[in-house]
Symmetry: C2
Subunit: 230 residues, 2 copies
């Protein structure tokens, strides 16, 4: 049995949930607030971050990229043509580059800021940095999202999927990030037709459903969030 320590609105955690579901893995979820630094999380991951995956009584697999590789190394063969990591080293590098772009750069410059300011800080006590969103951080995120979507739009217009002709981990990394921004109504869909068409294809996958039914306490999702025909 696999256990995933996650937060429902951590984009990296969402990425791992999507990947686990696509690989047909049975898993149980343990929801944690990383900012509370719970003992069980710290003992599993000294970095105090989610996602952390544990298989049976095995050691912790920490972080989205190590979990992605672990999942592919232990189960990739079994899922055959539904594998989300390509075979060729160059194609693998392109997949990894775009996974890192989404979970790293896009997260740091856009989605991580939005989630922290608008979701996490609502749940955090003032003593831990909670409170009203920092309007400067939101302004930065909203300016940055344009550039990222333009680049991703260019990629999905010139390829069938984000990293090439086949669906890959890169698509799920971006979908995980976009889903969090979309919950908050922060995705300018009107100006990004290509990304919108790609995301409509992603949303129709059964693995997305559990994510799209989740809510933040006291905050309604944007109308586009769960709508497959947004």
């Amino acid at each position: 049995m696999l256990t995933l320590y996650h937060h429902p609105f951590s984009p990296s955690s969402r990425f791992v949930r999507l990947a686990l579901t696509e690989y047909g893995a049975d898993f149980q979820l343990v929801s944690v607030n990383p900012w509370e630094r719970p003992e069980e999380l710290l003992s599993r991951n000294a970095a105090g971050a989610v996602p952390v995956l544990v298989e049976n009584d095995g050691p912790s697999i920490c972080g989205p990229a190590p979990i992605m590789e672990y999942l592919d190394e232990t189960r990739g063969y079994a899922v055959a043509d539904r594998r989300l990591m390509p075979d060729h080293p160059e194609a693998r590098a392109e997949t990894r580059r775009l996974v890192e772009w989404s979970l790293g750069k896009l997260d740091q410059e856009v989605v991580g800021l939005l989630v922290r300011e608008r979701i996490y800080k609502q749940a955090m006590p003032r003593s831990a940095g909670g409170g009203a969103p920092d309007s400067n951080a939101l302004r930065v995120a909203r300016a940055n999202i344009q550039h990222h979507l333009k680049y991703f739009g260019y990629l999905v217009a010139s390829r069938r999927w984000l990293a090439g002709e086949r669906l890959s981990f890169a698509d799920f990394a971006l979908a995980a990030e976009v889903s969090c921004a979309d919950y908050l109504g922060e995705v300018p869909w009107a100006t990004e037709e290509n990304v919108k068409n790609w995301y409509a294809r992603m949303k129709s996958r059964p693995s997305m459903r559990p994510l799209l039914s989740e809510k933040v306490l006291g905050m309604t999702a944007a109308p586009t969030y769960a709508d497959l025909d947004f």
Copy 2:
């Protein structure tokens, strides 16, 4: 032939140079200042960041982790027992976790701040953000380095190498970061005996030599930097 676009004091670039050398790969170096956003770099990597590896006329392999995986996938078999990625999926996950810790967390919270404030900003024009170091950023980095070294010291005291019983990519990721901080005299060696003993072993590797002979224009290295018996 492999070409590496790098910056001599980018820790991630140093990590890749160490890995290439350890794997016995012939490579040429192209030094770039990423903040100048040169056309050739942007056309190779839309993120505008180093390191970027190009093999012959192949596509760009962007970022330290994708390059590490590419190198191991294309040459790991040939280096046999000098391979820096373990065989077992759990051991691979531990190696990747610690590579990410060094090049991600340690870089963002410590070494990246030091390098940007004390090296990059000297070379940047004022219009691009150059100038005197931000003393607040330096203070944060100097406080954070203690916690990181304590954790790494704990690991190397309980294991032969950073990620386990065998030398791995994790050791070179940390050595790359430490070498940049050490150039600047920012490593509190006196209080971190375990890390010091581990780094002395790393420094004695021939792959480290080219790095330890490099200098920043107008800035002398700290006395410990190139000294094998520091």
